[in-house]
Amino acid sequence: MLRTIFNRLLGMIVVMALVVTIVFVIVRVTPGDPAAVMLGPDATAADVAALRSRLGLDQPMVVQFGRYVLGVVQGDFGQSIFLNQPVTTALAQRAEPTFFLTVFSLLIATVIALPVGILSAYKRGSTFDQVATTLAMFAASVPSFWLGLLFIQFFAVKLGWFDTSGYGGPGASFLERLNHLVLPALALGLVSSALITRFARASMLDVLNDDYVRTARSKGMSEWRVVLKHALKNALIPILTVIGLTAALLISGAVVTETVFSLPGVGSLVVSAVLRRDYPVIQGALLVIAGLYVLVNFAIDMLYLAIDPRVRA
């Protein structure tokens, strides 16, 4: 078991090293120039070149990469070109909305998907199953930003229950800030629930026909006990996997949703950094997101180890 954990950790380091390299190269070969964006439309080529030099962007790519890697291993992701602050500070300031948005979305998705998926499987072919499957397919095909715009239209503009965008002004309390997450979390959560519902249904269907379930029934156990205790326990591994992956997907899915709702989270930070070519922020943010993916997968692997004795063997 220790060996498995060690191998996984080693794999994580290799993946992160690859991410650092690939992101650095992609960001540098993408057309566009932070200096030109910062100086504005009337800047001359000489102005742009001077600013590039001041930012160190005129150095050979290998030199820039060396400096960057040296910084990263020391926990220094560099300085944002536009925000005038360290990338780590910029990311830390934006972690709150993204974290809570992801948590709430995942909660909404799980709370909807698990019971619906289990019930659909249990009542396979029923009207409930058909309606649930159709709705899940619909939700899976709807982009979260479109749903977000609909919610803004209805809940914010028409009913006036929420602000259309933002994360509260100066001095907004924690609860006021969370209030701004309701609509985006609903939009992201509903879309994500579709995938989990379908996995939960499929996984439950697999186990509901297994011998041990039939045996449990023949012993005279109540149906809810058979389904929730025996069947669900075994169906949970693939469901956990998909919930974990959904959590990771939500972090990246939040990129567009945060932009639509003007939430100052990591997602919108990435979008604005890409649009203005704030290289250190793009690199730092993608590194953190990739790190979260890797950590989530590691956590899932560890859960497997805990839940499934076959994996431990």
Binding site: P31, A36, V37, G40, P41, T44, N84, A156, D163, S165
Partner: protein, 512 residues
Amino acid sequence: MRRLLSVAALLAAMTLPAVQGAWAEPVKGGVIDVATVGEPPTLDPMASTADLVGIVTQHIFETLYTFGKDWSITPLLAADLPGISGDGLTYTIPLRTGIKFHDGSDMDSADVVASLQRWEKVATRGKQAAEVISSIEAVDASTIKIVLKKPYAPLVSLLAFNNAAAIIIPSENAGEDPLTKFIGTGPYLLKDRKPDQFIQLARFDGYKSREGEPNVYGGARKQYLDEIRFVPVPDPNTRVEGAVAGQFAYADALPVEAYDKISGGKTKPVILKPFGWPVFVMNTKEGLNSDIRIRKAVQAALAPNDMLTAAFGSTDFFTIDGSMYPEGFAWHNKVGTDAYKSDGDTETAATLLKEAGYDGSKPLRILTSRQYEFHYKMAQVAQAYLEQAGFKVQLDVVEWATLTKNRQDPKLWDIYITHSPFLPEPSLNGFMSDTTPGWWATDAKHKVVEAFNAESDPAKRAKLYEDVQKVIYEEAPIYKVGDFNALAAQAPNLQGMTPSPWPFFWNAYLEK
């Protein structure tokens, strides 16, 4: 027509309280949220020519001069207009006294000299001015002197403009690049900034306003509002929804097609007419458009009527106008505009192409972006008209950051599309410089531009600008498509605003 009437009524309503203000001073207080197109790339107005930077920072920092009614130059931190020596080489500028910076220190000539020297080094427009400035020095604590190498009339306009701006900051901060201490003399000071969330400005209690009445950007600057919060809302649809829901006191730069939707909402639409001009910049340095005959063919082929209709939909939002400046500006004239054909002249364009020996093997590359959807729509219509005239056209649609980079390289494009507000001084326009992308530098240009820049008498300058416009049409370094209007939204209880391309909120107040 209904629309224009409603806007006229609104504008009248907006003007009225300003007049009434002379009778009953509005009550101080209130906080407003202003939705902007995004987070400004910097809060140092010297470091960028982006409009958004100017919009936000003009509340924090001030310049020696600014623009009043009809874009006339009016003093701001200067006590008066400059005294200009007979040879046009020495500008003596008296400074106001008793002006405090946001850190409590007093402004004097040492701060002004240090700031202007920083402007020469850091700002695009400062570098432009530096080419003709011989020295900047303090005469006494409240007077400075700028000595030029040759007469240069646009100097005071450059000192007045709010982007790449000649702001005055404490001398001890003038060595900073990038600027980290945002200490100005403006009516509002920077209280807090959370990037991508808000920029919070609070009333500066030590502010010393000019006496008299407000005069657009100049004159008295009243600080009625307690706070102004600039809230970045990059998605235009979300900005519109926020305006409809009444979430913002003012929402800037809205898509014109949202006019009807906003009209039915809690804030009212405001049309700024005219706002600016879309322009096709020609690459005169390399490629197809280095041949003046090809450029003239492009000029003849384009049909602004259809291009503007595709871009803005209704004539409520655009005007077919070949003059470089619309009516109302001192620079407006019709000289040379015969070459501007509202529906294009395909036949002439085809003839010109033939004369130029163009065989259609090399594509005319139009560099554009969908950052501004109207650029892309104009490009599509332009492509159709150019192809009709015999051009082979290649549309290079990239995102804005790529466009700003690629346009610096003359090998990559023949035309790029951009737009600009009508700048108060023609010399501020990018194409007037030899070094901005487009690289228009001919003897004919230099002759007329130098004469224009050397003349300081406003009436004579307006006349000389006719020559500049004539050469622009003769050599076609750019193609002005027309005039377009901008749409914003304003809360009904926000009063005292003056519609302007760079909206400002001193003098604005909330009606109870």
